[in-house]
């Protein structure tokens, strides 16, 4: 059956199970948008800037595990996607980005709104395509979705010239992908798994570091089985948060620059590290030469390039986390490690890391804790980047996978709001909170219009300290308190929200926090709260740049337990 290129693209996306597309149209994709109404299964969400489209698709992908789709026109539309694509690439988020290109006769002529987007996105996509005839669209879409979601997921870009959307071709959707050069290794090498099991069975102070790979592979049960069978403490990376319930007795928080002191101490003292689906990012390892100095390292990851890239590895296992753990678990002998777990518990008691001190003023940690309490820990939290992100990671407890969605690798300020749109659209039954700083919020503030137009019921908490707070903290600690370019003014966020048709509140005092959050939750639609917090509050613990994980800086002032500061876990 003959169809236009635009119809073939839409048909193919329907076959791939696409339900929602985030995008903005323009000249080069006009024929495609003209075709969209023929496919009511494909819901289009008009964003206000293409970066928002990419982040929304990314948020949707992480929350649902499906491939997120974003769409933009040629030239500036395509370049505006770039930050969002890079963000998805670094955090292994499955995404397909579709861009229009100038018509074939104009390619290479510096035509109006022409840009070499396949060239530009070469290093930030898993793969990309420039489709030069309508007959290739179906095969390309099939490959693109397969690449985006399989192996180590990532973004794939398809660039389609304007005239290819109009060109007619026979539609035939391939049943299988034909990519002989692409075969991710799923099964771990049995000899390596045996070696790993031996190390684990003989370990006295084993520690698991679990990353986003566990979530991508949905290996929650296998991870839990491993941890419980051999009584191994589980520490996660930022993006691994939620892959193991944080209220579990063997959960010991997040490691890294702003990880829990006890988590960093555990990694530093471990004799065997079982790194699962993580990539030893520098924010997680701190100084590499000081990372887990006493440990044999077992590294399980589907991407062979991650093995031995940053940290020396004793037992590398390339494979899908779930498949490898299933095999590994068969060889693990039950153990107790009572002394080791007790040691970690003592460290947690001595260095609790998540206690909120008593304060007259409104502390950001307190705000996050109250959101946790009011939502009963059941919300999905999307964050910005910086202090707000770290407070959200530390002071909310995540028991379910994908309940914290955050920009890890790229650290993209402005991710929070558009991501929360994608999350809420993907998971309409969940409560979704966007926690962002006033700096990051202003970077994608225009998406309030998308929220209003599409009636996306996200709840927004601005942690407003009037600074680019994380950078200010570095200036305070390492640049002699010279606050260059960090003081930040902003609009009246409540009025801004109101102007967009979104109700909002400003909160300046502790006692107003809970009623405001409750009011936001009671509201059917979106709601914004501007929390005006202590301006110079710092995020602790902190491993200073260049230091080892064991050199944790803790909050300098004496801590007093405020009545709200209850540890979520029932410690031994």
């Amino acid at each position: 059956m003959k169809m236009t290129g635009a119809q073939i693209l839409c048909e193919s996306m329907v076959r791939e199970g696409v339900e929602v597309i985030f995008g903005i149209l323009g000249g080069a994709v006009l024929p495609l948008y003209d075709t969209l109404p023929q496919y009511p299964q494909l819901r289009h969400i008009l964003v206000r800037h293409e970066q928002g489209a990419a982040h929304a698709a990314d948020g949707y992908a992480r929350a649902t595990g499906k491939v997120g789709v974003c769409m933009a026109t040629s030239g500036p539309g395509a370049t505006n996607l770039v930050t969002g694509i890079a963000n998805a690439h670094l955090d292994s988020s499955p995404m397909v980005a579709i861009t229009g290109q100038v018509a074939r006769p104009f390619i290479g002529k510096d035509a109006f709104q022409e840009v070499d987007i396949t060239g530009i996105t070469l290093p930030i996509t898993k793969h990309n395509y420039l489709v030069l005839d309508a007959g290739s669209i179906a095969r390309t879409v099939k490959e693109a979705f397969h690449l985006a979601r399989s192996g180590r997921p990532g973004p794939v870009l398809i660039d389609i010239p304007r005239d290819v959307f109009i060109e007619e071709a026979e539609f035939h959707y391939p049943s299988k992908v034909d990519l002989p050069s692409y075969k991710p290794t799923l099964q771990g090498h049995p000899a390596q798994i045996k070696k790993a099991a031996k190390l684990i069975n003989e370990a006295r102070q084993p520690t698991i570091i679990a990353g986003r790979g566990v979530i991508i592979s949905r290996a929650y049960a296998e991870l839990k089985h491993l941890a419980e069978t051999a009584q191994i403490p589980v520490i996660t990376t930022l993006l691994g948060i939620g892959c193991f319930p944080e209220s579990h007795i063997l959960s010991f928080g997040m490691l890294g620059m702003h990880g829990m002191a006890y988590a960093n101490m555990a990694v530093s003292a471990a004799d065997v590290i079982i790194a699962i689906g993580m990539r030893f990012d520098d924010r997680a390892t701190a100084k590499v030469s000081g990372f887990a100095p006493n440990a044999h390292v077992i590294h399980i990851d589907i991407d062979p390039t991650e093995i031995g890239k940053n940290v020396r590895v004793d037992v590398p296992i390339v494979g899908d986390v779930k498949v490898v753990l299933e095999e590994l678990n068969k060889l693990i002998t039950p153990a107790e490690h009572i002394a080791w777990v007790k040691q970690l518990d003592d460290w947690r008691k001595e260095h609790p890391s998540t206690v909120i001190r008593d304060s007259e003023g409104l502390l950001p940690q307190f705000v996050i804790r109250k959101i946790y309490e009011v939502t009963k820990g059941e919300a999905i939290i999307a964050t910005g980047v910086g202090q707000n992100q770290m407070w959200a990671a530390q002071h909310y407890w995540y028991d379910k996978p994908n309940s914290l969605i955050s920009s890890g690798g790229l650290g993209t300020m402005g991710f929070g709001l558009p991501a929360s749109i994608g999350i809420k659209i993907g998971c309409p039954d969940n409560t979704v909170w966007c926690v962002d700083g006033d700096g990051g919020f202003q970077m994608t503030i225009q998406e309030l219009a998308t929220i209003a137009q599409e009636k996306v019921a996200v709840k927004i908490a601005i942690i407003n300290n009037g600074y680019l707070g994380m950078v200010r903290q570095w200036q305070e600690l390492f640049y002699g308190k010279r606050y260059v370019a960090t003081p930040l003014s902003g609009p009246d966020y409540v009025k801004i929200a109101e102007a967009y048709g979104i109700p909002g509140l400003r909160v300046k005092h502790k006692e107003e926090v809970v009623p405001a959050i409750e009011q936001a939750m009671a509201e059917q639609g979106p709601f914004l709260i501007d929390f005006v917090v202590e301006p110079e509050e710092n995020i602790y613990p902190m491993v200073p740049p260049g230091a080892s994980l064991s050199e944790v800086m803790e909050e300098p002032e004496p801590k007093v337990l405020s009545d709200s500061a209850k540890l979520p876990t029932s410690n031994i």
């Binding site: 396949t118 060239g119 070469l122 290093p123 898993k126 793969h127 690449l147 034909d178 990519l179 002989p180 050069s181 692409y182 991407d303 062979p304 390039t305 093995i307 031995g308 890239k309």
Partner: protein, 181 residues
Amino acid sequence: MATTKHTLVALVEDKPGVLNRMASLFRRRGFNIESIAVGHSEIPHLSRMTIVVDGTTTMVEQVRKQLDKVIDVVRVSDITSDNLIARELALIKVKATSSTRNEIMQIVDIFRANIVDVGSDSVTVEVTGDKEKVDSLFNLLRGFGIKELTRTGRIAMPRGVSSPLRVEKESHKTRAKRQKA
């Protein structure tokens, strides 16, 4: 750690942009390539590349894995430790007068190289061999004055019947047929 020269051989899809994908990778990750040579392979739609990289074993293994990750790359092998045949071709344009021409021809003869062009004040020499042979001929000719030099970079394959990259030849052939149909 000491760096050594490694020879990598890659079988890649013959598609536009493949070289760009690989070159971009070298630049982005700061890998140092000594030479790169590309041409058709015995399998339709696939090209074979020989890449010479300078680095430590760990670094070169990272290069190999990163290249292998590129979707259009079918397979990459480090054949440095194999018993391999490696050749490179060079064209050398040397200054030549009536008094030096004979001497140049003798040297060229000894190296079993060829003179492929003669001008009024120069001769052009074609030489094939391993890097050392090309280097030593070049050094001998240097005294006469070099006007121009161009080298292809190394191409290499393991000796004997079993090549590490003879993979999925059949599937590629059938695919080529299907694409034609």
